[in-house]
C-alpha cells in the first residue's frame, strides 16, 4: 500500500489517524472520547490500580474496583479496627458487618461500652465479656472429635463412638454435619452473609468466617464470600455501586450529592466499557439531559408507549409515489427506488430542504398558532408535540441499531476482502471507528430530544437546537457514507472521506456537549416544567 498506510499503522495503535490526534489535543474535554478509557484500561492492567479516567470540568471523580480491590478494601478496614481496639480479625469483621461497614459509628459506639456492643453483635455469649474474649483468644474455635458424644439435633454418635463436633464460644456443641447443613441452608437457601448464628434456640453467638470455612465445602464458602462482598458494597455508605454491565462484577466508587445533580451529570464508565449514571442509576450515558429530565422522560415514554408504538415500524411509504420502503441502515436520508424522490425518514419532508436555514427538522413548529384555545385542540397539539420529540428520540435509537446491523454485514465483507486482497486488518478499522462514533452521537442526539421536549421556547433553546441540528446533519452524512458499497479500488478514497467525517462528527458532539453542560452549570436552560430533584 502507499506510504500513508505506514503512518496510519503507527497512529493506529492509539486507534486513530494523525487528524484524530490533532483534534484531540486541540480539545480540552477528552473525557467525551472512549479512546482515553481504553488506553487507561491498558495502563491499569500493568500497574494494577483502579482506573481513573482523565477529567474535564463536566466529569465526576470516580474509581473502578474489581473484586480483588473490594476484598483488600475490606481487609484494610478490618485491620484498622483491629489495631485500634486490639481485637481479633474475625471479630472485627463481625463488628464491621453489624455496623454496615460504618467504621466511625463502630468506633464511637464500641468506645462507649465495649461489653454491650460485643453482646449485641453476638460476640459475648457468657456473663463476663472480658473472660469470654480471653477464652476466644486462647482457644480458637476448631472442629473436635468427641468420644461418647450424641448430637442433640441428628442423634448421631453413641457411648462407644467418637464424633466430629464443633462448639462456638457459647459452648453449644453439635456434630459437624449439622453445622454444615445449617450453614448451607443459611448461605444457599436464604442468601445470608451478614450474620449466621448458633443453632441453639435463643443463642445469638455469631459464626465467624473462619469457623464457617471449617464446616462447609469450598464452593459453599466461595458463595458465602461472594454474598459478603455484595453486602459490603450494598451496605457501604460511601458511594459504592455495582457496574450494571452484563456479567461485570466491578464496583464503582463515586461521591455525588443530590444537589449536584441540578448542574452535573455524573456519568461513569467501567473498565468493561459500560457507561452508567451515578446520579439516577441509568444504565447508559444520558448526557446532555439532566438526571431529573431523564427520569421524567423515561416515565413519560412508559406511560405513552402505545401512542408511540407505530413509530418504531421499519417500513414507510414514499411520500410521493406511495411505494413501500424498508429501512435497512441507520441513515435517515431516503431515496425512493421507484420515483427517485429524496426524503427524510423522520419528518417525511423533502431532503433537499434539510440543512438550509429555512427548514428545521429538529425543531417543533406549533402550526396551530394562537387559535388553539379549546381543550381538544390543545390536547391534539400536545400529543403532536410529544410525538415530534419521541419520534426523533426513538428514531436515533433505532438508527443506531440499524447502523450496527449494517456494520456486522460490512465486517463480514471486510473479512473476505482481507483474505482475498492485500488489505490488512488495520486498514479496515476506519469503518469500525466510524460506526462507534455514529452510535455514540446518536445516543447524545437521542437525549437532546428528551431535553428539548421540556425546554422553554427562547433564544437559548434556539442555540441549543442549532447545535443539535448541526450534529444531526453531520451524523446523517457519516451514516450515509457507511451505506456506500465497498470494494478494493474505492477503499482508500472512502477511508479518507470517512475519517474526515468521523472527526467532524466528533467535534460537533464535543461542541454540543460542552455548551450544554456549561449551560447546566450556568443555569442557562429554562424548562416549562419543574424538574424533579433526585436528592
Amino acid at each position: 500500500m502507499s506510504d500513508d498506510s505506514d503512518n496510519y499503522m503507527d497512529a493506529a495503535s492509539f486507534e486513530g489517524s494523525d487528524i484524530v490526534e490533532d483534534y484531540q489535543s486541540s480539545n480540552p474535554s477528552e473525557a467525551f472520547s472512549d479512546d482515553d478509557v481504553e488506553i487507561e484500561d491498558n495502563e491499569a492492567f500493568i500497574v494494577n490500580e483502579p482506573v481513573k479516567p482523565k477529567k474535564s470540568k463536566f466529569d465526576v471523580d470516580y474509581k473502578v474496583y474489581d473484586i480483588n480491590d473490594i476484598i483488600s478494601n475490606q481487609q484494610s478496614e478490618t485491620e484498622q479496627v483491629c489495631s485500634i481496639f486490639g481485637l481479633q480479625r474475625q471479630d472485627a469483621t463481625i463488628l464491621l458487618r453489624h455496623f454496615g461497614w460504618n467504621r466511625e459509628k463502630l468506633i464511637e459506639r464500641y468506645s462507649e461500652d465495649p461489653e454491650r456492643i460485643l453482646k449485641q453483635v453476638g460476640l459475648a455469649p457468657g456473663t463476663s465479656a472480658s473472660a469470654q474474649s480471653d477464652s476466644r483468644a486462647n482457644s480458637p474455635v476448631r472442629l473436635k472429635r468427641v468420644k461418647g458424644f450424641t448430637c442433640e439435633i441428628c442423634f448421631t454418635g453413641s457411648e462407644d463412638t467418637s464424633t466430629q463436633t464443633l462448639a462456638l464460644a457459647c459452648g453449644h456443641r453439635f456434630c459437624s454435619d449439622c453445622w454444615k447443613m445449617h450453614c448451607e441452608e443459611k448461605i444457599s437457601g436464604q442468601g445470608e452473609s451478614r450474620k449466621i448464628e448458633c443453632m441453639q434456640g435463643d443463642c445469638q453467638t455469631v459464626m465467624s468466617e473462619q469457623v464457617i470455612s471449617q464446616v462447609v465445602p469450598e464452593y459453599i464458602f466461595q458463595r458465602y464470600q461472594t454474598l459478603a462482598n455484595k453486602t459490603y458494597v450494598e451496605d457501604n455508605r460511601r458511594g459504592l455501586r455495582f457496574c450494571p454491565g452484563p456479567d461485570c462484577g466491578n464496583v464503582i466508587e463515586c461521591q455525588v450529592r443530590g444537589s449536584d445533580l441540578e448542574s452535573l451529570i455524573p456519568i461513569v464508565v467501567c473498565k468493561c466499557g459500560q457507561a452508567s449514571c451515578f446520579g439516577c442509576s441509568f444504565s447508559g450515558d444520558h448526557r446532555p439531559a439532566l438526571c431529573g429530565v431523564t427520569k421524567l422522560w423515561v416515565k413519560k415514554c412508559e406511560d405513552d408507549s402505545e401512542t408511540a408504538n407505530w413509530i418504531s415500524a421499519n417500513t414507510k411509504e414514499c411520500p410521493r409515489c406511495h411505494s413501500t420502503i424498508e429501512k435497512n441502515g441507520g441513515c435517515n436520508h431516503m431515496t425512493c427506488r421507484k420515483c427517485r424522490h429524496e426524503w427524510c425518514w423522520i419528518c417525511m419532508g423533502d431532503w433537499s430542504a434539510h440543512g438550509t436555514s429555512y427548514y428545521n427538522c429538529n425543531r417543533f413548529e406549533d402550526k396551530s398558532g394562537k387559535d388553539a384555545r379549546d381543550g381538544q385542540q390543545k390536547s391534539r397539539v400536545s400529543l403532536e408535540r410529544y410525538l415530534h420529540y419521541y419520534n426523533r428520540f426513538s428514531n436515533h435509537e433505532q438508527s443506531a441499531r440499524l447502523d450496527q446491523e449494517l456494520y456486522a454485514k460490512t465486517e463480514r465483507k471486510m473479512d473476505e476482502m482481507q483474505r482475498s486482497t492485500s488489505l490488512t486488518w488495520i486498514e479496515v478499522q476506519f469503518v469500525k471507528k466510524a460506526v462507534e462514533t455514529v452510535t455514540k452521537c446518536r445516543m447524545t442526539l437521542k437525549w437532546t430530544y428528551a431535553m428539548a421536549y421540556y425546554l422553554d421556547r427562547n433564544s437559548m433553546t434556539e442555540l441549543f437546537e442549532d447545535n443539535q441540528a448541526d450534529l444531526e446533519k453531520a451524523v446523517e452524512n457519516l451514516s450515509e457514507l457507511l451505506e456506500k458499497p465497498l470494494d478494493v479500488e474505492t477503499i482508500p478514497e472512502l477511508r479518507s472521506q470517512m475519517q474526515n467525517a468521523t472527526n467532524y462528527v466528533k467535534s460537533r458532539q464535543n461542541i454540543l456537549l460542552e455548551d450544554t453542560l456549561q449551560g447546566h452549570m450556568e443555569d442557562r436552560w429554562s424548562y416549562h416544567i419543574t424538574i424533579p430533584s433526585l436528592a
Binding site: 442423634f155 449439622c178 441452608e185
Partner: protein, 171 residues
Amino acid sequence: MSFLATKRLSKELKDLNDKGCPTGIQLLQSDDLHKWIFELEAYDSIYSDDKLALMFRFSGQYPIDSPAVQFVVGELEGATYKAPVHPHVYSNGHICASILSDGWSPVLNVSAVCLTIQSSMSHEFTQPSLSSHSVLTSCKSKQLPPDNDRYVARAPENPKKTRWEFHDDTV
C-alpha cells in the same frame, strides 16, 4: 428427603411411640414420614370443648428448616376439626408464631412445638419459655386475628410461604 431428616424424624417418631406423647396430645397419623397429624386437647382453657388437630409437614431440610404447622380444618377419620378462634390463628388453620419461623432452632422438635401451641390455648400459661420472640400467647376471649379475611383470601397453601410479621403479643 435427606438422610438427616429421615433419621431425625424416625428417632422422634420412635420416642413418641415408646415414651408416649405429652398429656393431652395424641398422634393420629404418621404413615407418611413427611406428614404427621396430632389431636390436641386444650384442657383448662376456653378451647377445652373444641376439637383441634395439628398437621406437621416436613421438608428435606428438617430440622435445619422449621416444619410447616397448621390446624386441620375439615373432616378427618370421621371427625370434624376446626381452627380455634384465637387472635394468632387464622380461620384457614394457619398459625402466626415465631417458633415456626424466626424463632425456630434445630434443637427444638415436634413435641416442643405441640406443647408451645397447646400452652398458648391455656389461660394458665403466661410467658413463653422457648423464645424471647413473640409466640402464641394465652388468651381469654375468642377472637379472630384482625386481618383474618384479608389474609385467608390470599394465603398460600403452605403457611411457610407466608412472611410472618409477628402480631403484638399482648393480645
